[in-house]
């Protein structure tokens, strides 16, 4: 295993130390592993809390700041944080208007956030609402399974919902908006290589030199199928086709080409060009775009594509100022 780390057991705390030092405008609670906005809690504003396993940087800690998250809880690598963390985050961001928990649909995340919400309800008067993001079309949606994973839409949702909270909207509205964004987003990912969980020390899966995995998530889990490597043009087709089959997209989408961590930006732009060409042929206008490694899977090489059906309100919230280490504009 070749990584720029110290002891594999310390990766998360070491990285949080680095984040705290590099971003003095944030406040890091190292004991609870929570990254806070420097000015949290913001009085009268709905607090937005997200979190999940580490290894997806900049998500979520890098999305803390004005116009996006108030706090992010960092679990061990690929392991949901524990309820204590969400409790500390919730208490730390409550400005009196309640708190929204943004949870990606993984059994671990669901259960830990659920326990945290139970504890918060039992121990404090803070009102908590929860949105579950489940946008991965690689996974069959069924009542009888764990349902779809939460992937790329999470980034867009955190930005949009963060902007709405910044506007001072009440918790119920913010939570409704969050559900609307989740409903409007679909994603699909692929990998050229596996990643190596530091504590495991070996690649999670093996891929031959001429193979790629289609339909992967963001935890190094194997995908839905393994195929021969193909040009970016065909990869873009393989990712977009199931998205377009799953939901109607009409004029004006946010198109997000995400890097998995080991794929450089030059390749993401190549993929974006192909994705844009397919959407153009399909008569779907791209209203906004985002290209880069925003929701990674350690050093995995690969990408995912997310389409979010936008409307005027969502675009206005997307364009609103955001000041975080990972996304920053308008201020």
């Amino acid at each position: 295993m070749k990584k720029l780390i110290n002891d594999p057991a310390d990766v998360v705390s070491d990285a949080l130390r680095g984040m705290a030092l590099a971003h003095p405008e944030l406040r890091v609670d190292h004991e609870n592993r929570v990254v806070f906005r420097g000015d949290a809690p913001v009085r009268g504003k709905v607090g937005i809390v997200s979190g999940g396993g580490s290894g997806h940087e900049p998500m979520h800690g890098g999305f803390v700041g004005r116009g996006m998250l108030d706090a992010a809880c960092a679990g061990e690598v690929f392991t949901s944080p524990v309820p204590d963390q969400m409790q500390a985050a919730t208490a730390g961001v409550d400005g009196g208007a309640g708190v929204l928990h943004i949870v990606k649909n993984y059994t671990g995340d669901i259960m830990n956030f659920e326990m945290a919400a139970e504890l918060v309800a039992a121990e404090s008067g803070i009102e908590v609402a929860t949105v579950v993001v489940d946008d991965d079309v690689a996974v069959t949606d069924s009542l009888y399974t764990a349902g779809r994973r939460g992937v790329g839409t999470t980034v867009l949702l955190e930005k949009i919902v963060g902007a709405a909270a910044e506007e001072g909207r009440p918790l119920a509205e913010v939570a409704d908006l969050a559900k609307r964004v989740d409903d409007a987003g679909r994603s699909m990912g692929m990998a050229l290589t596996s990643c190596t969980v530091p504590a495991a020390g070996t690649p999670t899966f093996e891929l031959a030199d001429d193979e790629m995995e289609i339909g992967i998530g963001i935890h190094g889990e194997p995908g839905r199928r393994r195929v021969k490597v193909a040009p970016a043009r065909e990869v873009a087709e393989m990712l977009i086709e199931p998205i377009l089959s799953d939901r109607m997209f009409t004029d004006g989408v946010i198109c997000f080409v995400n890097g998995m961590g080991g794929t450089p930006l030059i390749e993401l732009y190549v993929v974006y060009a192909e994705v844009a060409a397919i959407l153009e042929r399909s008569g779907i206008r791209i209203a906004r775009s985002l290209v880069g490694p925003y929701m990674t899977s350690l050093e995995m090489a690969g990408c995912s594509v997310t389409l979010l059906q936008a409307d005027d309100e969502l675009l206005r919230l997307w364009d609103a100022p955001v000041v975080t280490p990972g996304l920053r504009w308008g201020a």
């Binding site: 396993g53 679990g75 061990e76 690598v77 690929f78 392991t79 949901s80 944080p81 524990v82 309820p83 204590d84 993984y106 059994t107 671990g108 259960m111 830990n112 659920e114 326990m115 991965d136 690689a138 996974v139 069959t140 009888y144 399974t145 764990a146 994973r149 969980v197 504590a199 495991a200 070996t202 999670t204 899966f205 998530g217 935890h219 190094g220 889990e221 194997p222 839905r224």
Partner: protein
């Protein structure tokens, strides 16, 4: 003739489980790599190391307290799916344990409560390819044996036997809960990591409890 299970017994059980998990950590992680995210071994090892630290430093004096502290520690230290599930298992055991030491029936009742907690928390059904597929049969076997008046050691041996069979039965299953479910049909042909670790838990019980 029932042998009462006290704090020392539970401590021995938990230490034994911690040891085995530590020894087989890489194996559990490898199982999770095949159909999950390669962290089940390190998750369980981290959690049980924290439990052992509690046992070393500030062991609660009564069985219910010990089980509760174990559950709370696992919830606080593990995360992922296994943290809340194992944590809930011990918290519910604690809730069912009553005061003082546990007789055979109390042990069986506590384990049953633990299982119900796992099911309530995770909503897995038998056949979903989860720890429930090993813990459920183990619990049934324990109830049956204790109900039939078998000594606890024998009852736990039967439970361990049932857990092993339940664990092995997860191999051909297509996962419907947890991370492995994302793989669909590709999840078949692999043993479930949580069913494997929970079998170690039952085996550790068989090796440590009910021996005079």
């Amino acid at each position: 003739m029932s042998v009462a299970v006290g704090t020392d017994d539970l401590t021995a059980w938990l230490r034994r489980f911690a040891e085995v998990v530590h020894e087989r950590r890489d194996e559990l992680t490898a199982l999770d790599a095949a159909i999950g995210d390669a962290d089940h071994g390190s998750n369980m090892d981290r959690g049980m190391a924290a439990v052992v630290a509690v046992l070393d430093d500030a062991p609660p004096a009564d069985p219910a307290g010990l089980l509760k502290k174990t559950g709370a520690t696992l919830v606080s230290k593990v995360g992922g799916a296994s943290g809340p599930l194992y944590g809930t298992f011990f918290l519910r055991m604690a809730g069912a344990a009553g005061d003082g030491d546990l007789d055979d029936a109390a042990v069986a009742r506590a384990v049953r409560a633990g299982l119900e907690g796992v099911v309530a928390r995770g909503k897995a059904e038998p056949g979903d390819k989860t720890m429930v597929d090993a813990l459920g049969p183990a619990c049934d076997a324990l109830d049956a044996a204790v109900g039939a008046g078998k000594p606890l050691a024998d009852a736990l041996a039967a439970a361990a036997e049932a857990a092993v069979q339940g664990r092995d039965a997860t191999v051909p299953m297509v996962a419907r809960k947890g991370r492995a479910s994302y793989l669909g049909e590709r999840s078949a042909g692999h043993m479930d990591p949580g069913a494997t670790s929970v079998t170690l838990l039952v085996e550790a019980a068989a090796a440590t409890l009910g021996r005079p």
